[in-house]
């Protein structure tokens, strides 16, 4: 049975209080490496949101109508990963063909996303928490927005940090991780206000 949560609450919860990145620390690698430049951060955030929503929808259908009936839950990791990889490949080809502008903004980040653990993370949360189709979709979309929000904020903060007198040894990844820690505290401050499961 799907938990009784209003999809709207789920949407806000997944963006803010249980942000996939800052509360669950998923999707860290691309978060740290691509957050130096606002344009790239924006493009990556957009593509994570798109891929998350689409793959979660497909994963839910496969989960519900193939994995559960055949009692193959133990294969979910492999199945989810295969589906994510294939979807990303298809998306990249289609966008490249039909929208060069969109490809420029988000297409080139798509291959990076195949290995973004936030995508697999959301698929697994959806399964563990037993969300319905609508809930899963809203949760995935919200998580994507949350990830997007987090990376864009980090890119903005990084811009300021560049001009700040950072101790030599902390420059680069060091200060970025500390910044992320502060951001996480700010986001987690609201946890408990909204429930996700």
């Amino acid at each position: 049975m799907a938990p009784d949560i209003n999809p709207l609450v789920l949407l806000f919860a997944s963006i803010f209080t249980s942000n996939i990145l800052l509360a669950n620390f998923l999707g860290m690698c691309s978060f740290i490496s691509i957050s130096k430049d606002m344009d790239s951060a924006n493009g990556l955030g957009m593509s994570v949101t798109a891929v998350l929503t689409i793959t979660t929808a497909i994963n839910w259908v496969v989960y519900k109508f193939i994995l559960i009936p055949f009692d193959l839950l133990y294969l979910r990791f492999i199945v989810f990963i295969i589906i994510i990889a294939a979807t990303v490949q298809v998306l990249e080809m289609v966008i490249d063909r039909f929208s060069p502008a969109l490809y420029l903004a988000l297409g080139i980040f798509l291959p990076l996303i195949t290995v973004n653990c936030a995508i697999l993370g959301v698929a697994l949360f959806m399964e563990i928490r037993g969300y319905s189709f609508i809930q899963s979709l809203v949760f995935a979309f919200g998580s994507g927005l949350g990830w997007w929000l987090a990376i864009v904020s980090l890119a903005a903060i990084q811009k300021k940090v560049l001009k700040a007198p950072v101790p030599e040894g902390l420059k680069g990844a060091g200060i970025t991780l500390i910044t992320i820690g502060f951001m996480a505290m700010a986001f987690i401050g609201f946890s408990g206000m909204l429930v996700v499961q």
Binding site: D39, I66, L72, L75, V79, V90
Partner: protein
């Protein structure tokens, strides 16, 4: 039953996805037949669209130099694309300067061939080919520099001394992907079925580790080239040549070539910088050239000779030795040209010394 069902379901899922991808690839990624026009009609290629420009060109026998093999991480495969193929991609930006972007220079490994293209590439790239070779000899020149001689069998390579060639490094040990690295050719242009390179071991270097620790005589490998624009000038000026380490390679080729062609009227000063005696190599070979060629002067210099080296040649940094010779021995009334091959640091420092002494024509082969 389950042990049949599970693999069956997975296989079914994977095949459905694979089918979708290959159908889409056929439909969506099919840009039909495309014409690539190089250097306003010098070469016109009819190709299938959908692939990256770099791979499309290499499948047609035109090899644009690329060190990383098309991963967008070296920035070597630049070429001028005259047709509008859309704005510069974020993956290209780090490797292009503002002037290059203005001149429509793009990274050929990032651009997809989707429509008819007009390109401009240096004509001599038409010369570059892929050669299949067999390692004929591996000689230790110093503790960290090896000479590798590759026989290319029946094929023959046309090049001018100073050019470099790309060595294709196959996957080995823990390295799972093939890469390419550029090395200056140290053999003479007249040896048309051989390519020699001087390769210095760089700790942790993918290609140099392979050459030093894995490569064996008789091994088959691929070379792509020749590339580059470093060469001696056609003038009668005095040549002031400076090299360090494996920067010896283009000069070794150049001097043997000049000797063979009888261009021995030209005055050449060849400075070679090293730390200690164990970093020096091919001394006898250049002493031999000195004997046959009166205007050829070989000046090896050690910056930190050890007491046991018994070194009675020039001592000090190569820049100081160079400065001393330019002021005292190399006739300033004749026009002088500088030729440099070595690390970026050495080239920068020697460039300053040459400029300081009024030498303005300087050619260099920078390796980094």
């Amino acid at each position: 039953m389950e042990f049949i069902v599970a693999p069956f379901i997975i296989a079914l899922l994977a095949s459905v996805l694979a089918l979708i991808i290959s159908l889409l690839d056929k439909k969506v990624n099919n840009y039909g037949d495309v014409e690539i026009n190089i250097n306003s009609g010098k070469k016109v290629l009819d190709v299938k669209g959908g692939d990256k420009l770099l791979t499309t060109l290499s499948s047609q026998g035109i090899f644009i130099p690329s060190a990383c093999g098309g991963k967008g991480s070296c920035g070597a495969c630049k070429c001028e694309v005259l047709t509008d193929v859309g704005p510069v991609l974020p993956t290209e930006k780090p490797y292009l300067s503002a002037e290059e972007i203005d001149k429509n220079i793009r990274l050929s490994c990032q651009i997809k061939v989707k429509k008819n293209l007009d390109l401009f590439i240096p004509e001599e790239l038409f010369n570059a080919k892929e050669f299949s070779g067999i390692v004929e000899e591996i000689n230790d020149l110093t503790y960290d520099i090896k000479e590798v001689i590759v026989s290319i069998g029946e094929e023959s390579i046309e090049f001018v001394s100073g050019r470099y060639i790309q060595l294709v490094v196959p996957p080995y040990g823990k390295i799972k992907e093939s890469t390419q690295r550029a090395y200056s050719i140290s053999s003479k242009p007249s040896e048309k079925n051989k390519v020699a390179m001087l390769i210095r071991l760089i700790p942790g270097g993918i290609a140099t580790t392979w050459v030093h620790n894995y490569m064996k005589v008789g091994e088959k490998l691929k070379l792509i080239g020749p590339f580059g624009d470093f060469e001696k000038s056609d003038s009668k000026s005095t040549m002031v040549c400076i090299a360090g380490g494996s920067g010896m390679a283009p000069f070794k080729s150049m001097f043997h070539d000049m000797l063979e062609k009888g261009e021995t009227n030209r005055e050449v000063w060849y400075f070679f910088g090293a730390r200690t005696k164990k970093d020096l190599f091919l001394l006898e070979e250049f002493r031999e050239i000195e004997k046959k060629w009166t205007n050829f002067h070989f000046i090896p210099a050690l910056s930190a000779p050890l007491p046991e080296d018994n070194w009675d040649g020039e001592k000090g940094l190569i820049t100081d030795v160079l400065d001393k010779y330019l002021n005292t021995k190399i006739d300033p009334s004749k026009h002088r040209e500088g030729f440099l091959c070595g690390s970026p640091g050495m080239i920068g420092a020697c460039n300053n010394i040459l400029n300081h002494n009024g030498i303005k024509d300087i050619f260099y082969d920078n390796f980094s």
